[in-house]
């Protein structure tokens, strides 16, 4: 029955259950079983969500660029590539936002301040804003082909932009910085369970990402189909509610 299954299939449902199981295990290992770090103390526990979320954001933006490139180079130019790129970009923005927030909370405990003008932090903030812009361009309107073409080119431009921003910010900081900010991962002595927690986090978040992309791009497919049909779903849905 199409109406009940939504964007899910039995495969995504199995993947979803696995993700929930992995995340629950991660919470148990990260917050309860794993020991505190010798240097960082309990703050290392923030890393078990911070590192996987920035990792996922990189994967997401990489996938966006990849799909955009395939869309532009492909002969048939299937809009499916564009939708995967868009879904991935949207999720990437979410994860980069999460990692900025959790990272600054970790920074407050470790450095005593929420924000430092460190090259990595600053370019991550630019990464975030660049892809917020990418999402805004996807909302510009026009036909699906226009959206796909514009946003694909923009996603490839972002790939060019981000290393430049990172490079220039690194140069900028190297001039001003007297005491280098502690490299977050440098002195962490990871024992077995901590390493396992970190690894588990990466696996769990990557699978969570895959699950989200699968659902979101199907949702986008339906959005595209409806706007092709000229049917405004929101209005119809509201009418149905009013009728019922």
């Amino acid at each position: 029955m199409a109406g009940q299954s939504g964007t899910g299939t039995s495969a995504t449902r199995r993947l979803g259950i696995l993700v929930i199981f992995l995340l629950a295990t991660l919470a148990l290992c990260g917050l309860w079983f794993s020991a505190e770090d010798v240097v960082q103390g309990s703050t290392v526990r923030i890393m078990y969500v911070h590192v996987p979320s920035i990792w996922t954001a990189y994967i997401a933006f990489g996938l966006t660029a990849l799909c955009s490139g395939v869309y532009l180079s492909g002969k048939n130019r299937s809009l499916a590539w564009d939708r995967v790129a868009g879904a991935s970009g949207e999720i990437g923005v979410l994860f980069v936002a999460v990692s900025l927030v959790t990272g600054s909370m970790w920074g407050r405990l470790t450095w005593g301040t929420y924000w430092v003008w460190d090259a990595r932090l600053t370019s991550t903030a630019f990464l975030f804003i660049t892809y917020v812009g990418y999402l805004a361009v996807r909302q510009l309107g026009g036909t699906h082909r226009q959206r796909a073409r514009r946003s694909s080119v923009l996603a490839l431009l972002a790939i060019l932009e981000i290393p430049l921003v990172h490079f220039s910010v690194t140069l900028w900081r190297s001039l001003h910085q007297e005491a280098t900010v502690a490299n977050p991962n440098a002195k962490v002595e990871l024992d077995g369970l901590m390493l396992f927690s970190l690894f588990l986090g990466l696996v769990a978040f990557t699978m969570l990402f895959a699950w989200l992309v699968l659902h979101r791009q199907r949702g986008m497919m339906l959005e595209d189909a409806f706007s092709d049909r000229g049917l405004d779903v929101a209005i119809t849905a509201r009418r149905n509610e009013a009728g019922a």
Binding site: G6, T7, G8, T9, I46, V49, L208, H215, A225, F226
Partner: protein
């Protein structure tokens, strides 16, 4: 645990924001699927 509020806070922010997004994605998908034909949902 030392710094418990920050640690649970960061885990909480992660869980809530990703959770809210996931629920939105699923609900929006279900809402759209109600009005979709089978041809528009090739995965079914």
């Amino acid at each position: 645990m030392e710094h418990a509020s920050f640690i649970f806070g960061s885990w909480g922010i992660t869980a809530v924001s990703i959770g809210v997004y996931a629920i939105w994605v699923i609900r929006r998908g279900r809402e759209l699927a109600k009005h979709a034909t089978r041809e528009e949902m090739p995965w079914t």
